[in-house]
Symmetry: C2
Subunit: 356 residues, 2 copies
């Protein structure tokens, strides 16, 4: 079982770029894709020759396992362009490790590091015009793996496809977010797949989130499924609570995604002399802190939105508004993260990775 | 939002049947598909004109939601042919209701009953040569719905495809099954999607099941994720325990699939004067019953295998063998179910549905 050397990407260039048709000032997230994509098939126990080809629809058997049993994992990452036109990734090794952790939990093969990084960098260089400079602009990168074997027995597939597609993303001010603390529905179980970026985890959240939206809340903060007493994470973000001048966030578990933004913020907090307590977060404690005024901020942390300040939450039919905070940690961390990502500030933890 | 009348299926017949190439004596489950498939797209809030066409690969955007967020639900049902060549379904309305329950939980549109039944019946009549008579032979039917919209934002899709594919299945004696009671991993959470036939529920079981297989167990009996103290169901079967002359099975909940075989067995047990207790089933109680000899049988119940007798289980490193039982309920119910399904015996509950 040898994989071909990573230099051997088979490249087919698109004959004409679509970039001129794209209005970069009015991008809706995840609808427009760049000119190329990276594709690599896993057949007979081996990752085959990787390819870069024009972004295009592909043919799948209706019996492909992914359609029936949800064997599908993904990652979300971004590329940034600095003022000198250099291209940067942010901690890409973490995404590579995580997609393999997700894959293992779904009985899918791991994808080699050199394929991942070399494939991604080659793709980014080909589509570099799609990455716009300026803080907040980025190219959203979606690596994913799906089970392609055309056989509907409920067991792990023998063939898979690894794909990377890219979509330009605009800096946008989404406004503050109002959230509902989950009391009935849940996102993941002990001993389940909540820690994995498994496709099925996301569809499971759509209906409860739609119910929350009808009540005027954009998102749900999930609680533990056993008791609904502890706050865990949001649909695509880890969550931080600021109590007076300290931060609290839930520990990583088999129910919670080990977010790269989360772990970067924990480090940045330390760099800024801000205490972070990683511990189970009781709903009662946060409600009490909201009542006595010690709850200063709640914010979400994830690659897509970087940091999302939360302005209010509801639990047990009671609504708590969180007063605006002039010197918010949310804006501090957002600024510091974006400046590292865009090669504006010093990168003392070596998080930036140049695409050369 | 009007749907076209169900008489208007757009039919394209395959030019040549593949059936001559198929060895019906050596069928591997779910690998061979019949000549035709049923396809219906949901676009702009409306199910479009349904189609029947040759079974074939189809084109999908790599950004189709199903690949990223697991918006996919399915059903499993069978068609039978009796000795007079008549074709029968078993409680097909239950499958229709259940796929819509699954769809609703995943924020997907419901599929109209007349489309479902008329589409399925038309398809079965076109592929009727693929249904072989004889007890145990059947045509396995796989209706499924997937999110096709090419946009990777984590929200419900606006376009879907409903498909039915069919695969001939052979009667086979799979041997008795040895199972592991789950102690660490789990299948579903309170407030989750375990009750739905959601694609993601199945991939999540593959890795723990592979670990069980390494220990010599074919399947896992899942326990509740909160305490692992109560037995729930297997990967694709509900589970019955026979204590002396009574049956015990777990109640349906938001974690457990409402199996059609399960509910039929509960009815058949009543018809046979056998008591069924529907209640939470403590692991300790089953272990105690195994020790004192009152545990006579454990069997799984589901469309694919009908009834699977279980010969042993392991829990907490302790293995319990279940002695063979001459007059097993498992074989009684299997025989009675198959005879109803194949139009051999009387059908007093009107479960059979003729495809005319
Ligand atoms: C469930 C979930 N939690 C948290 C996050 C944040 O992780 P990261 O900071 O690595 O983007 C994501 C995704 O991005 C997620 O899907
Ligand atoms: C999780 C699960 N439980 C139980 C069953 C049995 O249900 P039914 O008897 O309707 O086939 C199935 C599927 O067939 C299943 O997927």
């Amino acid at each position: 079982m040898t994989n071909p050397s990573n230099s051997e990407i088979d490249i087919v260039k698109s004959s004409k770029s679509k970039i001129k048709d794209v209005d970069f000032n009015n991008l809706v997230f995840g609808r427009i894709f760049t000119d190329h994509m990276f594709v690599c098939d896993f057949i007979d126990g081996v990752w085959q020759q990787p390819k870069i080809m024009p972004y295009q629809a592909m043919s799948f058997e209706p019996s492909a396992r992914v359609f029936h049993y949800g064997q599908a994992v993904f990652e979300g990452m971004k590329a940034y362009k600095d003022e000198n036109g250099k291209i940067w990734l942010f901690r890409p090794d973490e995404n590579h490790k995580r997609i393999n952790k997700s894959a293992a939990r779904l009985a899918m093969p791991e994808f080699p590091r050199d394929y991942f990084l070399n494939g991604l960098e080659t793709l980014l260089k080909m589509d570099k015009e799609w990455i716009k400079s300026g803080i907040g602009n980025s190219l959203y990168i979606r690596p994913f793996v799906i089970a392609t074997e055309p056989a509907i027995s409920a067991s792990p597939a023998n063939s898979y496809r690894f794909i990377i597609i890219c979509s330009p993303a605009k800096a946008y001010y989404s406004g503050k977010v109002r959230v509902l603390f989950a009391e009935k529905y849940s996102r993941s179980a002990n001993g389940g797949v909540g820690f994995a970026k498994a496709a099925g985890n996301y569809a499971a959240q759509f209906y409860p989130t739609a119910l929350a939206q009808e009540k005027g809340y954009q998102q749900i903060i999930w609680t533990d499924a056993s008791s609904h007493e502890f706050l865990e994470e949001a649909g695509t973000m880890n969550i931080f609570f600021r109590i007076n001048d300290s931060l609290v966030t839930a520990p990583i578990s088999d129910r919670i995604l080990d977010g790269i933004t989360r772990k970067s913020i924990i480090q940045l907090a330390e760099d800024n002399g801000i205490t972070v307590e990683v511990k189970r977060v009781p709903v009662t404690e946060i409600k009490e802190a909201a009542r006595n005024g010690s709850l200063k901020e709640i914010f979400g942390a994830g690659t897509a939105a970087v940091i999302s300040p939360i302005s209010a939450f509801e639990h047990a039919e009671e609504v708590f508004e969180i007063p605006d905070n002039e010197d918010s940690y949310a804006s501090l961390f957002k600024k510091q993260l974006l400046e590292i990502q865009h090669n504006v500030s010093q990168d003392k933890h070596h998080w930036r990775h140049e695409v050369k």
